[in-house]
């Protein structure tokens, strides 16, 4: 069975390699392409199907007065509990309006008023509305615009390709290696710079809003390349994930629902948010609403599906179909008419606030490595405001594209590390070649349960330490994973093996940082340290030294 699988390697040269074809990755590729350099865009999925397309409610930008870029920046910092990267946040607020215009030029048409003014709505903390939107499928239309623009510019895209490792020449990133999912062919990309835009890690949790591709590949590869991660303990749980059937467990119900008058009630019909946040009610911040729902259900006030109700059945059907047409469809597909009965919802793992520690140009601490989007950290601090995620990818995707092009132009000679290529190929194919071993999805299911039970909405030292132990054990098990087929064509088990290893490293980073932060702040709620402490207005950096995860506390970047 060894034969051709191990030996043949295809080599491709480019100036800039973009890994990940969601909002941030495509935006980076568009900008990089303008430099005239060679750009290759890689995605695990068919072009256009990345997780960005699942964003529903909107995208934040100061498009309509009285909102201003300063206001946008200010609430982003407040929403992030003051540990955001202030420098990045300032630029973010300032540049978002121009990025909204870019997207319009790529084809996106945002919802309008009769006058031609943008239709905007207010999410949590938005005294002045910032969310521009396209129905409740803003992310999908945005993806379509980006894909259309990429087609217009004839950006070279490789579908369904899995990058498994960044390649280093001494301390510099000089490319990446991976496999074509269609036929397991090994391909090495030699690149003068690499932009990582590989998204989040939702799949390591049992319940998530995320697409199946979000397996923390970028965090794991960046750590391996010597990059620093920041704020990894900050994991956002969206308050409203679908909870009425196992098939759609965790699927997102947009915040736009609550912001337009959706009401949360427990099994007794009580509008329970009045107990927890009597002023903000349903529009408290995401971490706050998620904790409230958790507590209601924990107190036995949930439905038989361990969920609470979200009502829009007091709206007219016209309003429902105009404001949240996709939410209506999502429930209709499971046999629920939300114009007549309430939705069952429960918090669902939604977003990694943390990630690669970049500066305002998407530059990491590793030469040649740039990053943008959810795989990065800093912009959101301890809690992300709704509408800031797909927004952030546009600002820093563009910036990473510019910076990577500038860097690439200066690079003359690079050489590929033969030993790394050989070792990585051996690692990849060991999952196929070994005689017997553990079934990959068995490891994955255990990890999902551990993360959901012990590294969730509420945390404490005891459970975090248990999680640490469990994950460390799973890492050992994962080394023995074995694909159930040796087939080369579409070996999903092989992709699972590689993704599971990445999820385990990401999980470890989250757990280590969560153990270290002995306070509660934003999405990180410690039952044993419930107070938010001034002395903890700091960031935690995670890095990998000789294969071991190390943490460090640093000052907030202002």
């Amino acid at each position: 069975m060894k034969s051709s699988l191990d030996s043949s390697i295809k080599y491709i040269k480019t100036d800039i390699l973009v890994i990940g074809a969601g909002g941030a990755g495509i935006r980076a590729a568009i900008e990089a392409k303008k430099s005239g350099l060679k750009v290759i865009l890689l995605g695990k999925e068919v072009l256009g199907c990345a997780h960005t397309g699942m964003a529903m409610g909107g995208i934040n930008a100061a498009m309509v007065k009285p909102a201003t870029p300063e206001f946008h920046a200010q609430i982003t910092i407040e929403g992030g509990y003051f540990i955001n990267n202030y420098k990045m946040v300032k630029i973010f607020g300032e540049e978002m309006p121009a990025r909204i215009r870019d997207l319009e030029n790529y084809g996106v048409i945002y919802d309008r008023l009769d006058s031609g003014e943008f239709y905007t709505w207010a999410g949590p903390k938005q005294k002045y509305p910032l969310n521009v939107c396209v129905g409740d499928y803003t992310g999908r239309e945005m993806m379509q615009g980006l894909v259309d623009e990429a087609r217009k510019l004839k950006i070279k895209y490789t579908d369904e390709f899995f990058v498994s490792k960044l390649l280093m020449d001494k301390d510099q990133v000089v490319g990446a290696i991976g496999i074509n999912i269609k036929n397991t062919e090994t391909v090495v990309f030699q690149a003068k710079s690499v932009i990582l835009a590989s998204g989040g890690a939702g799949r390591m949790y049992k319940v998530t809003t995320n697409a199946m591709s979000n397996t923390g590949d970028g965090y794991a590869m960046a750590l391996d390349a010597g990059a620093e991660l920041i704020d990894m303990e900050m994991v956002q749980f969206h308050p409203t994930g679908m909870a009425n059937t196992p098939s759609s467990l965790g699927v997102l119900v947009t915040e736009k629902t609550r912001s337009h008058g959706g009401i949360l009630r427990n099994i007794k019909g009580e509008r329970f948010m009045s107990k927890y946040y009597p002023v903000e009610m349903e529009l408290a911040k995401r971490d706050e609403v998620s904790r409230s729902i958790y507590q209601e259900v924990a107190a036995g006030l949930g439905t038989k599906n361990n969920s609470v109700y979200l009502h829009v059945d007091h709206w007219t059907k016209e309003k429902i179909l105009e404001i949240i047409p996709d939410v209506y469809e999502q429930y209709k597909n499971t046999g629920i008419d939300i114009s007549k009965e309430p939705m069952e919802i429960y918090p669902s793992m939604h977003h990694m606030m943390g990630g690669i520690n970049i500066d305002e140009w998407g530059v990491s601490n590793v030469p040649g490595l740039f990053a943008a989007g959810e795989v990065t950290g800093g912009i959101h601090g301890a809690n992300r405001l709704g509408g800031n995620s797909i927004a952030e990818g546009q600002v820093f995707g563009r910036r990473a594209g510019i910076a990577a092009a500038k860097f690439s132009k200066k690079i003359k000679n690079i050489s590929l590390p033969k030993d790394q290529i050989k070792n990585e190929q051996t690692r990849i194919f060991s999952f196929i070649n070994r005689k017997k071993g553990v079934i990959p999805h068995v490891v994955e299911d255990k990890l999902k349960q551990v993360m959901w039970d012990k590294v969730g909405i509420f945390r404490d030292e005891k459970r975090l330490l248990e999680a640490k132990k469990a994950v460390s054990k799973l890492k050992q098990e994962a080394k023995k994973m074995k694909t159930r087929t040796t087939l080369k064509e579409r070996n999903r088990d092989l992709q699972d093996c590689l993704e599971i290893e990445n999820m385990l490293i990401t999980a470890e980073s989250v757990i280590e940082a969560a153990i270290l932060r002995k306070e509660s702040r934003g999405a990180h709620s410690r039952l044993d340290f419930p107070e938010t402490l001034d002395e903890w207005r700091k960031n935690i950096v995670v890095k990998s030294i000789a294969g071991k995860i190390k943490t460090e506390i640093i000052e907030v970047i202002v």
Binding site: I109, Q144, P246, S247, H441
Partner: protein
Amino acid sequence: MSSPRRRGSRLKLHFMKIKFLIYRYNSLKKSKFKYDSFEVPYNKGMTVLDVILYIYKHLDPTLAFRYECRQGICGTCGVMLNKKPVLSCSTQIDSTIETQMIEPLANFLVEKDLIVNLEPVLKRYQEIKPYLDKIHKVIITKKKSNESRAFRKCIECANCIAGVPELEKTLKGCIDPMSLVKIARYVTDPRDGLDRKSIAKKGGIDKYSEELGKKLSLVCPRGIPIDEAIKLLKQ
């Protein structure tokens, strides 16, 4: 499986199995296509994707299929369920049908099992210039934005292409319905400056009948009125 101790009626529901015939083919090995039969335990609310995942996880790890979002929005999980194109993540199984069939999208070359080769279709798609071009500066009002709104909902799942057997017969060589929707999307966008209707004319839009348009509208999982796109482009 644990020994059944529950009451009769629940027991029956719990252990009800549905037989699924799954299309199998491997283009890289040029294998002969066949149908494999799998028995899958039925749960209320189960989707086509649940069936596929159950088979992959418990019965056959070589099964090839695509999925991403589980939300009906990424457009990657289209298959034929009992000869009709559906998004597998948003379509529940009808438990009254004893034997059911899951196949790759019709009118496509099959790459492997339930995965189709999108390349030829996307190559043709590129020819219609599927992007905003020769941009005019126009202020878009609610009214203007509503004109293209329905067509902008396309997620390129290609279910429409799979939904017309005519595509292989009377419409052979004609432009496909996914492209028509994209053209309609830009024709109704006041900013676009290309003569797109002539692309549709050249592509044989006149061969699309009104009934076919209506049929296509019913196939679209995003509820796009493809019949209106056809009407518009024929004008």
